[in-house]
């Protein structure tokens, strides 16, 4: 099918874009990479009266290190930065290895060449990688409207199925990924039927150890097991204060699979199979994250 007609705007600056979104209110949709919105429009699942195309707003496309005076700062990513640019960024590979590791799992190169970081996060698809990764990394999202700006932590941003804290007229403009603490390790794993397909289950893990190798903090998040990215708080508690052992990994994986997630059944996988995958992938991801944390003393 083909999209229904719409009014089309191509602002050249962020201020112009925000003014257009304010003017058209709920009738207007911002168009980022279009890799989710355009298929929805092709099938007329979405029929926005107006599109505000952000692809000419060059100021929203960047990856840079923010120096905050206290050593290495956050990595700031403009919302319109293409996923492919993040995948290829040396800065991201160095400062946010979890993000770098997850990027190749996002659909196919043809999609990542157009798809944007901000677009995927604002779309908040429960099977998307970036929301889960950003929740694990405790990223902060800068949202702007014609009347102001605010910063929303990832933990308060994802509200449910395709729903976020963004208000009408508000645009996600920047994602700030904080630096990892010393002795931290991360890992991303997902299982899909074919490379690039939607994951049946995906997991992102961040663990921080003390000088004696005990876990001081652990954040484990999942995709494709709920109506948004899911933070595994029970598994995190299991790990607190503990040193790595096979029993510990099994206990954390068991807590994640039985207490942290309530996965759906669909044509791709049953809930029971997804639970099983949560357990297996959690154990593997944690083992990898611990190993990387131990090899990362600075």
């Amino acid at each position: 099918m083909k999209p229904a007609p719409f009014d089309y705007f191509t602002p050249a600056t962020l201020d112009e874009a925000l003014a257009l979104l304010a003017e058209h209110g709920a009738d207007a949709k911002p168009l980022a990479g279009g890799q989710s919105l355009i298929p929805a429009m092709n099938f007329r699942l979405a029929r926005p009266a107006a599109l505000v195309d952000l692809n000419r707003v060059g100021e929203l496309s960047y990856i840079r290190s923010e120096r905050d005076g206290r050593g290495g700062g956050a990595t700031a990513i403009g919302a319109m930065t293409r996923q492919r640019a993040v995948e290829r960024s040396e800065l991201v590979a160095r400062a946010a290895p979890l993000l770098a590791e997850a990027m190749p799992s996002i659909a196919h190169p043809q999609i990542r060449n157009r798809g944007t970081v901000g677009g995927s996060i604002a779309h908040a698809d429960p099977s998307a990688e970036l929301p889960a990764v950003m929740l694990a990394l405790e990223a902060r999202f800068r949202a702007r409207s014609a009347t102001g700006e605010r910063s929303v932590p990832a933990s308060e941003f994802f509200k449910g199925l395709l729903e976020t804290a963004l208000q009408p007229g508000e645009l996600l403009v920047e994602i700030a990924v904080p630096p990892l603490l010393p002795r931290s390790g991360t890992a991303f794993l997902e299982l899909a039927r074919r490379h690039g397909d939607y994951a049946l289950v995906g997991v992102a893990a961040v663990v921080t150890l003390d000088a004696r190798g005990r876990c001081t903090a652990a954040r484990i998040t999942f995709l494709s097991v709920g109506d948004g990215p899911v933070l595994a708080t029970e598994a995190g508690k299991t790990l607190a204060g503990q040193a790595l052992s096979e029993e510990l990994l099994r206990a954390a994986a068991d807590a994640a699979a039985t207490r942290d997630v309530d996965p759906p059944s669909d044509i791709h996988a049953s809930a029971a199979y997804r639970r099983q995958l949560v357990a297996v992938l959690t154990r593997r991801a944690l083992a990898r994250a611990f190993e990387r944390a131990e090899g990362n003393p600075s």
Binding site: P3, F43, N55
Partner: protein, 163 residues
């Protein structure tokens, strides 16, 4: 509001200018406005890969872009791979013919346009890399074996016994 917008786009080295509705997909623009029917339209939701073209050298789904978004950009379609006369095939096309890398041919333009930038970055890919690169292109004749063989042939690698 005027329902038409101007788009000026260079396709296979030739500049075109049209006034089109903003909702016109790039895939339909190429086929219906420019008559370049080598770009095929399959699923229209970014799954099958048949409509893959190069936008400023990068592979993209032309069904997931509006034609007006290509304004000022450079597009290459499968017609741009050969010399235009149809006499001289691109080496990858020649390898596909040689290795029987197609049956019905519907998916082939998208497969080729996916592989051209892939091979630019990975001139000597292993079989796993080739299969991963092809994961965004569906072939319903189940011809993947010979597609992989064609890519290996294009790279000058001997065909593996399984391919």
């Amino acid at each position: 509001m005027d329902p038409h917008a101007n788009v000026e786009v260079t396709v296979n080295g030739v500049r075109h200018r049209r006034a089109v509705e903003p909702r016109l997909l790039l895939s339909d623009f190429l086929r219906h406005e420019l008559g370049l029917t080598g770009t095929h339209v399959g699923c229209e939701h970014g799954v099958c890969g048949a409509c893959t073209v190069l936008l400023d050298g990068d592979a993209v789904r032309s069904c997931l872009m509006f034609a007006v978004q290509a304004d000022g950009h450079d597009v290459t379609t499968v017609e741009g791979l050969s010399d235009g006369s149809g006499e001289t095939l691109h080496p990858l096309q020649a390898a596909f013919r040689e290795a029987h890398g197609l049956q019905c041919g519907f998916c082939t333009p998208g497969v080729l346009m996916t592989l051209v930038p892939f091979l630019r970055e990975h001139p000597d890919p292993d079989e796993r890399q080739i299969r991963e690169a092809l994961s965004g292109n569906l072939c319903r004749c189940t011809g993947y074996q010979n597609i992989v063989a064609a890519v290996r042939l294009a790279c000058g690698a001997p065909s593996s016994p399984r391919a």
